[in-house]
Every structure is written in C-alpha cells, then in structure tokens.
C-alpha cells in the first residue's frame, strides 16, 4: 500500500479491488488448507487400515476369525497375547531381536563416529575409493551373503549367538551410519576443531566433550536408521541363528501348524513387533522435525 489516503474515484476502485483479491486469496488458502488436511487424513487412513486389521484379528479368537468377517472383535479376547507373554519360546524371540539390534547399534555407532569424522575433515590416500567401497556394501543383497555367512560364523564358532547377527548387520549398518554422520559432521564449521586444538584440547577429549554434543541430533537420527534396518532385517538374522538367539521373525513361522495357520497368534505377534519402532520414533521425532539434509551439499 503506497497511499493510505484514498481520494480519487479511480483510487477507491483500485483499493476495493485489491481488498477483494486479498479476501479471495485468504479464502482460497483456507480451502487449500482443508484440502491438505483431507489428503493427509486419507493417507493416514491408508497407512492405518492394514494395521487396524492386524489389531482387530489379534483380539479375536480363532473361531471368530474363521467364522466370518467381523469389523471389530465381537468376543474380545487377549488369549493370544497371554500365550505370547507366558511362553518363553515366544517372548525370548523378542528379547533376542532386541539384544542383537542394541549390540549392532552400539558397535556401528562406535566405529562409524571416528570414521565419519575422518571422511568429513581429512584428505588421505584412497579416501574417495574407500567411501565408494563402503557404499557398495549397502547395495549387497543379503541373499548373496547367506551361504558364506553361515559358513563363516559356523567356522569361527559364533553360530547361533546374538553377536553373530549384530556383526552381520554391520555389513549395511556401518556404511549407512558413516554416510549419514559424515553429512552432519560436514555442516559443523572446521574452525571449531581448530579453536579447540589451540585451546589445548587433546583429540579424544575434544571429540567426546565438544564435537559429539554438537552433532547429537545427527547421532539421534543415525541411531534411528540403525535401529530400523537391523530390526526389520530377517533373512540374515534367521539364517545365523537356530534356537538360542532366534529372532522373533523366525519364531513367528511356528504359527503354521498342521491344522493351518494360527491367525490370532500370528496377528498378536505381528502387532507386538510394531511397538519398539513406535518407541524409537517417539524419541527421535524432534530431531527429524527439526530438519536435516542428508548428504553432501
């Protein structure tokens, strides 16, 4: 608005037209916002519908499941959950899975932090090739490594232990961690390192006391991805274990019995595998919402 004092008829008309356009824009943006919410809601329904169906099944008795389609559990029962929580072969599956996922997260982040720092700060012989080679490990199909892994871990006596699965998952998790962390570290100005060294910090002390707190949200995001890819993988996990460290994914195949599939227990076990993920997202949601741009900019 250049002139707040409207005097000539022409200017009055112009002013009115501008005001009308502003109103139209506002109502259009309100409309757009509702359309936005509608689309978002539609997508969320799409995401939740299969999960709802799983929950629905998990609270029904097998007779009700096979007796006919019911949109909600009419004879609500928790028998399947009780079965899972009282039988060691079931709940040990969850504990085994959680155990190797945590081990993998700790190992991966501990070795990836210094490596990512080296890639983000220094130039050294073979750095680019090494980085590309790391990424190629991300591309290796687990099916390719199935047999050699089995033989390797059998030979070194680690077969059917948690650490075997944790180490096997390092194949794709360490490269991923280095890749993500390197991006975060490169966005921290190099001057910070130099100042700290001038102030007399030794490298380890600087790294732990100053640098790690600065990229804490990067570490959060990395841990999220490490958890995700280790928790969901089952081909390697079930090949490298038999009974002592059996992951929940292969315990679930028990539901296929001689008399058909035990749908209720399968659904309940599936529903319980979703929970740890929700807990992890809950913890990192703010880091994600704060925004991060992966990769080299």
């Amino acid at each position: 608005m250049t002139d707040s004092l409207v005097s000539t008829p022409d200017a009055v008309r112009k002013h009115a037209a501008q005001a009308a356009a502003r109103r139209r824009r506002k109502s259009r943006s309100a409309l757009a916002q509702w359309r936005r919410r509608g689309l978002m809601a539609a997508y969320i329904v799409f995401v939740l519908l299969p999960i709802y169906w799983l929950l629905n099944m998990s609270f029904q008795s097998n007779n009700e499941i096979l007796g006919g389609l019911t949109l909600w559990p009419e004879s609500f029962t928790t028998e399947h959950y009780v079965k899972i929580f009282t039988s060691p072969s079931w709940y040990m599956g969850y504990l085994n899975s959680i155990a190797y996922v945590l081990m993998n997260m700790v190992i991966s982040i501990l070795v990836a932090l210094p490596a990512a720092y080296a890639f983000s700060r220094y130039q050294f012989i073979g750095d680019k090739h090494l980085f590309f080679w790391l990424l190629t490990n991300l591309m290796a199909p687990p099916a390719v490594f199935l047999l050699p892994y089995f033989q390797l871990y059998y030979t070194v006596g680690l077969f059917d232990t948690h650490i075997a699965v944790a180490l096997a998952h390092c194949l794709f998790n360490i490269p991923l961690a280095v890749w993500i962390l390197e991006g975060f570290m490169s966005s921290v100005p190099k001057e910070i390192d130099e100042t700290a060294f001038i102030d007399g910090y030794s490298f380890p002390r600087f790294f732990v006391k100053i640098f790690i707190p600065m990229i804490s949200s990067g570490i959060g995001v990395t841990l999220f991805f490490l958890f995700m890819f280790s928790w969901v993988e089952l081909l390697l996990a079930s090949t490298l274990t038999a009974t002592n460290a059996q992951p929940i994914a292969s315990v679930m195949t028990q539901t296929k019995g001689a008399s058909g599939i035990d749908w209720g227990t399968l659904a309940a076990a599936g529903a319980l595998t979703i929970l740890p993920g929700i807990v992890v997202v809950y913890f990192v949601r703010n880091h994600i919402a704060k925004g991060f741009a992966l990769g080299r900019t």
Binding site: L39, M40, I44, V47, P50, W53, L54, L71, L110, A112, P114, A115, A118, F119, R121, Y122, Q123, F124, L134, L135, N137, M139, A140, P141, P142, A143, V144, F145, L146, L147, P148, L167, L171, I174, P175, W179, S186, K190, M228, W231, V232, L234, L235, I248, A249, M252, W263, G270, T273, G277, I278, V281, R285, I288, A289, K290, G291, F292, L294, G295
Partner: protein, 293 residues
Amino acid sequence: MNKIQNNRAWWLILPMLLLVAFSAIIPLMTVVNYSVQDVFDANTRFFTGTEWFKEMLNDPALQAALLRQFAFSLTVLAIEVPLGIGIALIMPKRGWQASAVLILVTMPLLIPWNVVGSIWQIFTRGDIGLMGWSLRELGYGYNITANPVDAWATIILMDVWHWTPLIALLCFSGLRSIPDAYYQAARIDRASRWAVFRYIQLPKLTNVLVIGVLLRFMHSFMIYAEPFVLTGGGPGSSTTFLSQSLTTMAIGQQDLGPSAAFSLIYFLIILLVSWVFYTAIMNMQKDKKNEEA
C-alpha cells in the same frame, strides 16, 4: 569445505574398516571362490572358469526374473517418489499434530519385513481380509493366488504402503531445514505455489532425494521377505524376484557354483545402476554450479 591432507586419518578409519572387511570381504571372496568351481564334496572340486556365469546369463528363468525385477523396481520408484514428496509437503509442521503424523507415517518402516508380508496376507485374503473381502463383495473376483495381475497389484500396493514413508520422512526433514527467510522472500516476490516448489523446495530436496531414490532402488531390487510371505512367488513364478530365485537355488537346491555366479551378477547389476545414477546426478549438479559461477 577444503580438507586437510593427513594420512594419519587412516587410524580413525581402521576399526570400521576391519569390521566391515570381516563381514564383507571374507564372505565375498567365498562367493567368488565358489563361482569358478564345481564342488562335489569337501575334497572333490573342479575349476570351471566362467562356465557358471555363462550358464546363468543364458538361463531363461533368471532372465525373466531379472526383467520382472526391473519392472517392479521402476514401478515402485515411479509411484513412491512423487507420492512421498507430496506427503512431505502436506505434513503438518508444528505442534502435536506434527509429532502425531510423523509417528503414524513412519510406522510401516519399522515393522519387520516378514510381518509386513503377514499384515498384507491377512488384509488381502478373500475370506478373512478386509481388502480382499470388500473387493469380492463389490463384485470383483479378487484372488492373489490365481490371478497374476492381482498378485502384482497387491505387491506394488504393499510396497507403496511400506516404503513411501521413507521418501516422505527424508523429504520432510529436508524441507524443515529450509530457513523461513526463503519463504518470506518468495512471498514478497508473489511467487506462485509451483514456483516456490520448483525453485526453493525442490533444489533443497535434491540431496535427500538422491539418497532416498538410491536406498529405494537398492531395497526394491533386493526385495525378498514381503512377496515371499504374501504370494510365495506365485501364481506360477509371476512374482518371483531375484532374491527369491537366488535363495531357492542356494539353500533349496544347494547349487553352490551357479548360485555364487548368480550372486555376483546380481550384485554387479545393483552396483552398476547405482553408480550410473549417482554419477549422473553429481554431474548434473556440477554443471549447474558451473553455469551459476
């Protein structure tokens, strides 16, 4: 950022290198070893050279699986990338809604892959599944165990359900890292919604999208558990993808030599496609920077 030349940085890399080498190089060498030999038992083996590779490349079943694999990967990428960007753009940015939507949208990503298969198996069964039952009630003879088209459509729908959140999540956080000043400048310039997307948001998303597309391509190319649980590769072999062919050959039939050769070919294809894609994008960005400079 200009980096310091320092070869002592190798010491920082070393622990990681040892670990990854243990779980990557030794097994890979085993595979290479098998691929050039014919193993009868522990003591009898013959050197076969490139014979297994030739056999695998000429195997019509594997060629068909490879074609299916490419068709599948390209289809899911073509659906998931635009859809993921779209979702990221309409996700709420502040308040409790932002957290709630973020958690809900991310949920499918954190479900073990065979459970994803089970969820969709339960969801799409004609007798007890909501989707299968509804489609049948509507008069469509939906059947994933007999009709290849239904099986394909279901697997693609499942993959979209499962993996669109990854693209959406990466794009969402990429968008959140754009400073508000950019949007204010656009508003002053009266930029249209499309112009804001094309010249502010999309360039900022390039990096996350490169990672997203690469990850999606690699994972869709290695897909195993979900179709295995949902359709078991059928009807016939219409949804048998490469990983499943490979595991059947290696574990089921114990054909070490051919399956090792097949593994290497498989690995090289993923490597080649990813490398071409990565280099192409990097060159495009370099060109753009050169033009600006």
